[in-house]
């Protein structure tokens, strides 16, 4: 029997995070923890972010990823997690553009070596 190829988006994100850490890159992980209304990615969706601005996975339909990458880099810098909310009621988030009209809360945490 030939080996079953992996087809696992969740594992792809976690593996990429581990790979970046192995090469000495700092890493943050972003996770959708709550959604209201229509939102493109369900609770539990994850994105890994590297210190040099690469990312794997998604936490929205591409609307807020840029802001989440910035938050990830801030989390790597101060070693603290943060909780972000994006939605139509939030002026800044609207500027970022969650065009689907939903609201998402995203937890962003640094991944530490120890």
């Amino acid at each position: 029997m030939t080996v079953l190829p992996e087809n696992d988006d969740v594992l792809a994100v976690l593996d990429r995070a581990a790979g970046w850490l192995d090469t000495g890159q700092p890493v943050a992980l972003a996770t959708v923890v709550q959604t209201w209304g229509s939102s493109p990615r369900p609770v539990g969706s994850q994105m890994a972010i590297s210190g040099d601005g690469r990312f794997e996975g998604s936490v929205s339909g591409g609307c807020v990823e840029g802001a989440v990458v910035e938050a990830g880099q801030a989390a790597m810098a101060d070693g603290k997690p943060r909780l972000l909310t994006f939605g139509v009621s939030d002026g800044e988030a609207w500027a970022v553009g969650l065009a689907c009209g939903g609201t998402v809360r995203i937890y962003v945490e640094p991944v530490t070596a120890s």
Partner: protein, 216 residues
């Protein structure tokens, strides 16, 4: 998240174990917990909130019969996040040329499906049109906790299949787990269309939707 937690999540994923990651959203304090009964979501706890994240194994699809419909179904299933294995003892059918980027087994279907240890995150479809190949796979499938078991063939073909499986000792409740004729009734005719109807039915089953709900 600590590196050790990340590594533990990766290991659980590779071993198809379900685990729950519990995080205090205020402090970032985190631990892995038994996933039994756990649900993904945020709950208030004291002055803060706790996020429980249940990591379930990725779904799998076992396709018995490396036929034309299977060639169309495999890429669709991969798009829908399924890990796919194609089973067919006829090496000319289950060739790497016809099925690139997919697990292939040339074992007899009962042996092949047993070896894959189908669990509640596994869907199994039989597409050979040949009872000699389909039935052994269906017998193993019905004894497993697979969330979806589907068999290609007309109502008449399925009637004869029911007789054979009854003779094998399966009762009506067990046999009624088989989706036959396979796929949602969307008028599918071509191999690609039939693959779409099968994949749609598998996705609906995975999320516990009935045909009535799907049609609404």
């Amino acid at each position: 998240m600590r590196r050790a937690t990340l590594d533990a999540l990766v290991a659980a994923r590779r071993e198809r174990r379900t685990v729950a990651l519990v995080t205090e959203l205020g402090t970032g304090a985190q631990h892995l917990a038994d996933a039994a009964g756990a649900r993904t979501g945020v709950e208030p706890a004291g002055n803060g909130e706790i996020f429980t994240h249940v990591f379930r194994p990725t779904p799998r699809l076992i396709v018995v019969g490396a036929v034309h419909i299977a060639q169309k179904l495999v890429p669709l299933a991969r798009l829908a996040d399924f890990a796919v294995t194609v089973v067919d003892p006829r090496a000319a059918f289950a060739s790497a040329e016809r099925f690139p980027d997919v697990g292939l087994s040339h074992d007899w279907p009962d042996k092949a499906v047993t070896a894959l240890s189908p669990d509640s995150a596994t869907a199994i479809v039989t597409l050979t049109h040949d009872p000699k190949l389909d039935d052994p796979a269906l017998i193993v499938a019905l004894r497993s906790s697979a969330f979806y078991v589907g068999a290609l063939g007309s109502r008449k073909t399925h009637g004869r299949r029911i007789e054979r499986l009854t003779a094998e000792g399966f009762d009506d409740a067990a046999i009624s787990r088989i989706r036959a004729p396979i796929g949602l009734p969307i008028g599918a005719l071509s191999p690609g269309e039939i693959a779409v109807s099968i994949m749609a039915e598998i996705v609906a089953a995975r999320h516990g939707r009935t045909l009535q709900e799907v049609r609404v």
